[in-house]
Symmetry: C2
Subunit: 247 residues, 2 copies
Amino acid sequence: MIVTFVGTAGSGKTTLTASFGRYLEENGYSVSYVNLDTGVKRLPYEPDVDVRQDVTAWDIMEEGYGPNGAIVESYDRLLPRVSNYVSTILEAERGSDYVLLDTPGQMETFLFHEFGVRLMENLPEPLTVYLFSPDILRKPADFCFVRFFGLMIELRLGTTTVPAMSKIDTVERLEDYRRYLDDMEYLNARLKLEPSMQGLLAYRMCSALPELAPPTRVLYISAKTGEGFDDLETLAYEHHCTCGDLT
Amino acid sequence: MIVTFVGTAGSGKTTLTASFGRYLEENGYSVSYVNLDTGVKRLPYEPDVDVRQDVTAWDIMEEGYGPNGAIVESYDRLLPRVSNYVSTILEAERGSDYVLLDTPGQMETFLFHEFGVRLMENLPEPLTVYLFSPDILRKPADFCFVRFFGLMIELRLGTTTVPAMSKIDTVERLEDYRRYLDDMEYLNARLKLEPSMQGLLAYRMCSALPELAPPTRVLYISAKTGEGFDDLETLAYEHHCTCGDLT
């Protein structure tokens, strides 16, 4: 089965790919690792498939591009090879229990570029894990934002998407985060008290969420301590068997 | 008044900042230009405020960072100076009719990093223009995605956000795009015909849109030909006077 880690730069995709992979291997599974980031320097895992064999952002920067331009250009150059990557990943899937996909450093490269969208459209039932780090959650509307972002990824990539808070070893009181993320009624009650336009929009959006999609449960993960790895494994297994019901 | 251009790398923010600014100046307005991109090499306008005076992604890459890491690190370093930038931008606003904000190359740097969020929270009623280029629109669900993305930006930054399709000079039949973007009933009718889970999610999300926020009109812009500049000017003016009713 294929598990894809998607998230902004710094959300911990690469570290998690390495440590969750190790966890799976220690539990007797065979794992293939796929690196889709043209701009990463060092990887903490040995990739079985690596886009940098074809294109790197580095080489393109040497042609005179800035870092943003080079990243976009690298996926423009990978695009004609997308069906090769689909085949290679499918082959890896046949040969191993898990294929872990580590996506581009900047999430939008994967969500907005045709390379990411076409790759995901052609893989069979991948589970997407949307990683967000706790430091982007400062006010109630932010919790609504990440809840909705998971849905946006699902809408764009067409894959079942599970939101996962990463780096939980860095937060003092995890239960404060869980209350907002696990209990939509609590979050909505707090949003209702916000007097701003932003609060009102968040309240409207979060209230509508249960009607838009069955409320997926949120994972809480630490790539450092391994907390939450068992939940992620269970969820990947459930997804593989039931294809989609992750409430 | 402050107009902020937000969009993925390659959506045309910088080119539009330059050419819309020139248009405004030709119409007798005074314009200040603000560059918030630490990774841009050359600008087609003369910035009055430029984050690169403090930090560049280049210098950070020379310390050994990869392009993605360098971009994130550059905003980490700018964060302690965010209130200085707010003051400088407010000063620019007092001295000119328009302040145009050209945001980081990668949209998520602005939306997910505290630098962007805190900057926008502290500026008075900026209008955000969410630029997307036509090449990301391939199927009906994609139109729903960009419509919703405008709302996500509004939710995150707390600013009135107008979706704008850029590069309209590159499309053959603009009316095909307009039909999906301007007529939500047409889009919903098409989404209803999509048999996939993705189509169903898009249908549900787009059907809910009118209840979540008054449907903002979409702008159609070419930085090359100047098409749509008058609409953008009118809309910025209306926003400035009425603060928010852009239906």
